[in-house]
Symmetry: C3
Subunit: 369 residues, 3 copies
């Protein structure tokens, strides 16, 4: 960030035919606060991703969508950190999902069991955290340890678009258990090791469902742990999170590894989701490859299903073109094949023919603030 | 804006007996960012309008309200633009409705058919837009082209208060079709011409309902276009938007014209709403007249109904007094007369007597930030 | 605030393993705007309070919670004031509740009768206010006059945590009346006297339920008044708010007094809640005692119940340790004893045995921005 960025910036106005000429609070961009002065800052932040998508599955017509999140999950939030001195810091983070295509926000779960929606919630993250040389203690609604391996750090596409890791690495509901903790948990207490202890890192979490008395009173209680090691070219991590449900516990376990080989980051990911007596186990090989001003992405995943659904494969190719540090264009194409009689797996539109496939293509723009 | 406005401003605190003495993020007002430096800015913005209202209709008692939006629609939002260089810009806009009287937010529609409410949504607008010399491409939830002629640019009162254009120029639900696209559409792709091509301007939009398979699969799909021409004293525009619904399509078409004649802006607006086999056609003559430090507003509208409701007339008088660029006081008085046996049209309180009238008076304060 | 605080501050980033490296709007902390320059400011503000809690009641197992608001109510908001000159100011305030443990927001009531929830609402406060030498006029959703005496100004614990004044000083629903106006009212018009007229202060409010015609048409209509007097060591105030409900009116009346005696602020509070023919009357004696770098809190309350529930007592002890002006740690322990056969009163977990008790202990961190 050049120092000249510390100047006060004018408001850039969008063309809004119907908009009133109202005055507005103008916030200088991030650069303003990335100078060298010390102190405490607070941020209004976000990222919006919107594009167009065409999906076709066995037995269906092609369907078209104006869709959010083909590349990255859209969000709106407020966060900040206060320096308490002596290396101690306290911070907070409030983050909501945004569907740019229709203006809605995502759901949350108050008890790690039922979904709550209908308006803006800080369902992506709501935490207060205290940190020091000893690491970071974080309370509130946060990502579970085993989600860490499903992001773009270990999967070429992260959890977005038709190449999303979530299509094969998220759990399949079974026997009354719809797990709500494959990404985040509410009522959680988490601890992160300090960054950079000889390359090791770790994250442990306990979370409560806070159900009332009765046989389901432990529903939504979660314990999870993630340990990893990385250096400049290599990164590996293993994690497991277990959530109690009276209708069948949910266990998410995974191991990822990446290796930077010239312009290519080679990526491998193994993950299992157990829901009661069912399980799905997926293995992915892929890459993020620096190509010109952008990044080529490729992933091939095969999944073994037990007591539910059928085996399946997922192949995805994408490209992300950076217009600036804040803005990118992207395109993805992917296909899922259900190998058995089931039709469970798809890229957004389910097949209506046993063992059918599901394919999609999408392009969009991602903009962060 | 004087350059002295670029100084850092103190926090002006409201008198809050029960408020905690918390520290707070202080945002300098809009003036701060309207200096001459170039760059990219982001804004937290809004407008709040609240007042008191008395309504009386044939067969009812007078009712009193503390009410939002007598002059302008209350809103809260975040928006910004990034300059990508070479004349290319990317921007975003997230805007929610606010009911200042009770703290609720407005609804949105994910499929241009059903209403979604219950908390804050960015239902007023949620877009990412890319613009250049060639115009602007906008994706997300946005105003439909035919809404442009119902605002204060073509109607003295815009769509707010007892004089609102919406009372006569919005559609009447019929035969199961409740149109959700008379103002905005979700899942839209819009294109705006650059401003100032010999005075011509235009806006085209396609939007998707994204329904599942079946006979209603195209419900909520919209196409719209608006073309206009303006110079320093004259402005005219025609628009049409058509939305598919299995229960009867909805077409909104209108033509507006204004002429600045000394202190008076003379305004004329014609508009038709077709819902299936029904239609309502309204014609308005009115003015926004600069009078002292404020603006006098007058509008007279007559409506012809076909296969639904009855003919009606609407007469409205108002005054807006500017306390500053950001703040205004206003007062409105209006009356609607249903000409046939129906009781459909009203200023907020329906008559309970066939062919009855409905009248209202309101005063309030509008404040933007 | 030292002048050096007016410098631009860097962003302090939390450790977020899964977070994207997005740019962000950086807002300088409050200090930035507390310089001496005059002008108009707008703030994004908030407070987050989260901790752990253990509750045990007669006949129940001990239950554990990760819980918000043990010390202070969590919130997120936007507020500002514009100086119109001549001593006249206009301001606005939008404030939402936040449950830090799960990311949800609190409810509001549009008619002072029914609760509305499901996403972010500005249910804590949504107002536009105009102020001058003559006091302040405030319109919208705001605190009722009789709530003023239940805050930390008159009760050691205010309305939060296991020591909350709300446990004994809030109404008990009866005969179909669930009062929604013991804290705030929507559709309100309030007037506050200027601060510092010989130590006297006052607040009057009228609010409307805005129900439709019929026997419940006045439901939610409220009138309230609060008058008080204070000097440097003494503060006393009396208030009454009355709300109409067809199923039984609700009247909240109370008197509080505090006296600063060395390090101890001695506090006394009397309050009555009448719901139809029922009533509960509570009396509290307590203190906020400066002890080391923090504040010791103690309160003992006894309650008399009439035609509903049973008599009860509430004893609470707490400590608040300030890490900085923005951040504090706290701990509370409290117990409620139901004196008759009822089980109505509790600190968050009701007894399941007639006349049982309910106890809780909690510790947490409060952080404001």
């Amino acid at each position: 960030i050049p120092r000249s960025a510390l100047k006060v910036h004018p408001i850039a106005r969008g063309t809004a035919l119907a908009a009133l000429a109202t005055s507005a609070i103008a916030l200088a961009p991030a650069a303003l606060a990335q100078g060298k002065e010390s102190g405490s800052g607070v941020q209004v932040f976000g990222l919006l991703d919107i594009g167009v998508q065409a999906l076709k599955a066995s037995g269906t017509d092609t369907r078209y969508f104006v869709n959010s999140d083909g590349n990255t999950s859209s969000r709106f939030g407020v966060r900040g950190t206060e320096d308490l001195g002596g290396g101690l810091k306290v911070g907070f983070w409030l983050e909501s999902a945004v569907s740019v295509d229709d203006g809605t926000s995502g759901a949350t779960s108050t008890n790690n069991k039922d979904s709550v929606s209908g308006g803006l919630t800080w369902g992506r993250r709501a935490t207060v955290q205290v940190s020091g040389d000893w690491g970071e203690l974080r309370l509130g609604r946060d990502y579970v340890p085993s989600f860490g391996n499903l992001t773009t750090s270990m999967h070429p596409f992260g959890t977005n678009g038709v190449g999303s890791s979530g299509l094969m690495f998220y759990p399949v509901p079974a026997n009354g258990t719809t797990a709500r903790t494959n990404v985040r948990a509410s009522n959680s207490i988490g601890y992160f090791t300090p960054s950079g202890i000889n390359g090791f890192y770790g994250h442990v979490m306990v979370a409560l469902g806070e159900q009332g008395p009765g046989p389901t009173r432990k529903d939504g209680d979660l314990q999870g742990v993630r340990v990893g090691w990385r250096n400049e070219v290599f990164n590996t991590s293993a994690a497991i999170s277990r959530t109690r449900y009276a209708t069948g516990n949910y266990t998410q376990s995974n191991v990822g590894a990446t290796y930077q080989w010239g312009p290519a980051k080679l990526m491998a990911l193994w993950g299992r989701n157990e829901v009661g007596i069912t399980s799905t186990t997926a293995t992915m090989l892929g890459t993020q490859y620096q190509l010109g001003p952008g990044e080529l992405r490729f992933a091939y995943t095969w999944l073994k299903a037990k007591n539910i659904a059928s085996d399946a494969t997922h192949i995805a190719l994408g490209y992300v073109y950076d217009l600036s540090k804040r803005t990118a264009l992207y395109g993805n194409i992917a296909r899922i094949d259900n190998k058995g009689p089931a039709m469970r797996f798809n890229v957004g539109l389910a097949a209506t023919v046993p063992g059918g496939n599901s394919g999609g293509v999408e392009t969009g723009v991602r903009h962060s603030f």
